[in-house]
């Protein structure tokens, strides 16, 4: 029920995706719709329908097929999580996202329970290009990979490959150099983030045939096979620096990420001896986009704005491809 028009015979006709936007604030709905219809650039067409209450949204879901539903959390009759729960029942496979003016921390538990992996934040100013990217990634998650997607006319682009655990500190030092050359004040925080993300990637990259991890964190890895090397790309555009850290293990799941995030945000992790990495990465980086292709790749995209991005109210962006 969630499929769109049948495959076009004429390949020049672009595919059309149908989006349902739910928010009781008509200005927000109008603005997002206007942006998507007039400014969002993509290879496909978009049809956007709206609802201002949960009941209206659910009625629409029962009547018409949608590829993607984006809903506010606070609606007059029910909350957004409820709508997404219903949406998953009525149209299994429909892509789902929340949009909110409130902060992620308050909703992380619901996000974990309801398996909502994308939460967009209403900030002032609103980040329209980021909104474009998240709509794109929701509709086509396999295209979410790669740092190029998140930099606008990149003026720098470099790659590092890690073949052994010795490469971790070398990679970290190179990235540190990169940040220092841009006089990034939060350099110590980013150092922590990079070490966590790179170490995670390296130790998740090597798998045993049964899918479990071959090495324990901290163990010396003399050589990763070519199917196990970790790729790091880094670069910048006019407004931000970006780093992509990609492992070929693909063992990370969205549920696992939300588990660790929730555990740390709620404070349950106080006495834990490990498991803070993902939380630290999320807290200390301006923007994190996590792309997961099961058993194939796990990619952490880390973006740092050179000036002016608010550090509070962070979104959640996890893209999972089958």
């Amino acid at each position: 029920m969630n499929s769109m028009l049948a495959e076009p015979m004429d390949s020049k006709i672009a595919k059309t995706y149908r989006l349902l936007m739910v928010d009781d604030d008509s200005t927000i709905r109008d603005n997002l719709k206007e942006y998507l219809l007039n400014y969002h650039q993509a290879d496909y067409q978009l049809e956007v329908e709206e609802a201002s209450t949960a009941d209206a949204a659910i009625e629409l879901l029962k009547e018409h097929p949608y590829d993607l539903i984006i809903t506010d959390i606070n609606l007059p009759d029910q909350d957004g999580f409820y709508i997404l729960q219903e949406a998953a029942h009525i149209q299994p496979g429909i892509k789902r996202a929340l949009i909110t003016a409130y902060d992620l921390d308050s909703y992380i538990e619901m996000a974990k329970t309801e398996k909502v992996y994308n939460i967009i934040v209403k900030t002032a100013p609103f980040n329209f290009p980021e909104f474009s990217a998240v709509v794109d990634n929701l509709l086509l998650p396999e295209q979410a990979f790669g740092l190029e997607k998140y930099l606008d006319n990149p003026s720098l682009f470099k790659q590092i490959e890690i073949h052994s655990s010795h490469g971790i500190m070398a990679a970290q030092a190179e990235l540190q150099q990169f940040f220092e050359s841009h006089q990034v004040p939060e350099i110590d925080a980013l150092a922590v983030v990079m070490v966590e993300a790179i170490t995670n990637a390296v130790y998740h990259s090597a798998k045993l045939p049964d899918g479990s991890l071959r090495y324990e964190k901290g163990e010396v890895i003399e050589a990763l096979t070519s199917e196990e090397t970790v790729s790091i790309t880094y670069g910048r555009d006019d407004e931000k620096l970006g780093v992509s850290i990609c492992d070929k293990g693909g063992t990370m799941t969205a549920d696992e990420i939300l588990f660790w995030l929730e555990r740390n945000i709620s404070g349950k992790s106080l006495m834990d001896t490990h498991g803070r990495g993902i939380y630290l990465i999320h807290r200390l980086t301006d923007r994190v986009i996590i792309n997961l292709a099961k058993n194939k790749r796990t990619e952490f995209i880390l973006l740092h704005y050179l000036e002016g991005t608010p550090h509070e109210n962070k979104p959640l962006y996890i893209n999972e491809t089958a």
């Binding site: 604030d25 927000i28 209403k122 002032a124 608010p310």
Partner: protein, 365 residues
């Protein structure tokens, strides 16, 4: 308004008149409507029936205590009393209240202040809650305004492209479009500022949401100096840095400490009318690092010096980004540090921030 004595059935009036306890009857504006003889001796010569019982600045507080309907202590001059509001039948449907008044030898000034503080804190807590809710509610409309402006800006870009290249009207048209674009961007900036302020209020009311990590002091100071250089208001100030040869590492949430230091510098700027000298000093007092921000202004007035960290104390309309010294103190306490101030013997104020020392980053990794 009926006089209370006329409402008392005869024997009650006699009881009140001859009771071994003081009895006063007041209306809700603080007028002393009636008092028995004993109460009159307690109240003293300056107070008369028909006059006001308390100075007008004291009345609102007294009224709140009475309306809470519980016995309370109150200081009249040097003497302490326990007042006990008498509720129910006698005063129902009347505009007056009957209070028992008993001298209390056991009462101390501290107790009265504690009680006063309790009521004030409850009020502040309610106010704080309202502010938090309001800050939450503000985010949506602020996002809307910003979005509207941003989209308007995008439309203007489109419009500008549509202006024909060579036409006598084109240049003035482009100029007008640019003008409008500029104004729109100013709205977007102001909205961002407002949103940021809401975030600050929300951050204040959240339980501990800080991430502490090692950070080098001189890096922080450098960052602040960069900010200052960009602001022309600081150009006439003299800045003296007294860092350590090897700058120390503190365990902190750098953004928050930077903001606190920045606010102190702004205060120093105001205190010295933009032309004074500010010293920023780094010292080690194991296990802390001591950061001092000192100015050569007039110093802090003696009467507010001990209240300077209390919330909602304003000596002037609030300007700038921060929410004040109270929040700063809270944040520093959450860091495990301390925040204090003293007036220098030669004029000026010196703020002292003590924060826990951290091991250097490389060691801990």
């Amino acid at each position: 308004m009926t006089k209370p004595e006329s409402s008392f059935p005869g024997f009650i009036g006699n009881l009140l008149a001859s009771a071994p306890l003081g009895a006063v009857v007041i209306d809700l504006n603080g007028l002393l409507i009636w008092a028995n003889a004993l109460a009159m001796t307690f109240l003293g010569d300056s107070i008369e029936i028909g006059g006001i019982m308390l100075a007008s600045k004291d009345w609102p507080h007294f009224r709140d205590l009475v309306l809470a309907q519980k016995p309370f202590y109150y200081l009249l001059g040097e003497q302490g009393f326990m007042f006990s509001p008498m509720t129910s039948e006698l005063s129902q449907d009347q505009d007056w209240l009957l209070l028992w008044m008993i001298p209390s030898a056991a009462m101390t000034i501290d107790f009265v202040e504690m009680q006063t503080d309790l009521i004030r804190h409850r009020k502040l807590a309610n106010l704080g809650q309202m502010m938090t809710e309001m800050a939450h509610e503000m985010n949506n409309p602020l996002a809307s305004i910003s979005m509207d402006c941003q989209l308007a800006g995008m439309s203007l870009k489109k419009l500008k492209k549509q202006i024909p290249d060579e036409h006598s009207a084109s240049e003035p048209l482009r100029e007008t479009v640019d003008k409008v674009d500029k104004e729109i961007h100013k709205i977007i900036q102001s909205t961002a500022k407002a949103a940021h302020l809401c975030q600050e209020i929300l951050a204040y009311s959240k339980p501990n949401q800080m991430i502490l990590r090692p950070y080098q002091v001189n890096r922080m100071v450098k960052q602040i100096l960069n900010q200052l250089k960009q602001q022309s208001i600081f150009h006439q100030m003299t800045l003296c840095l007294e860092p350590l040869k090897t700058s120390s590492m503190i365990l902190c949430d750098p953004l928050k400490i930077e903001q606190i230091l920045y606010n102190l510098l702004k205060n120093a700027h105001e205190a010295t009318q933009g032309k004074g000298t500010v010293w920023i000093r780094e010292q080690v007092e194991p296990p802390f690092v001591l950061l001092e921000v000192e100015d050569n202004g007039p110093g802090i007035p003696a009467e507010i010096l001990d209240k300077i960290f209390s919330p909602f104390l304003t000596t002037k309309p609030r300007t700038g980004n921060g929410l004040g010294l109270s929040i700063s103190q809270q944040i520093i306490r959450e860091h495990g540090g301390s925040f204090s101030v003293y007036n220098k013997p030669d004029s000026g104020a010196c703020f002292q921030i003590r924060l826990p020392q951290a091991a250097p980053l490389k060691d801990s990794l």
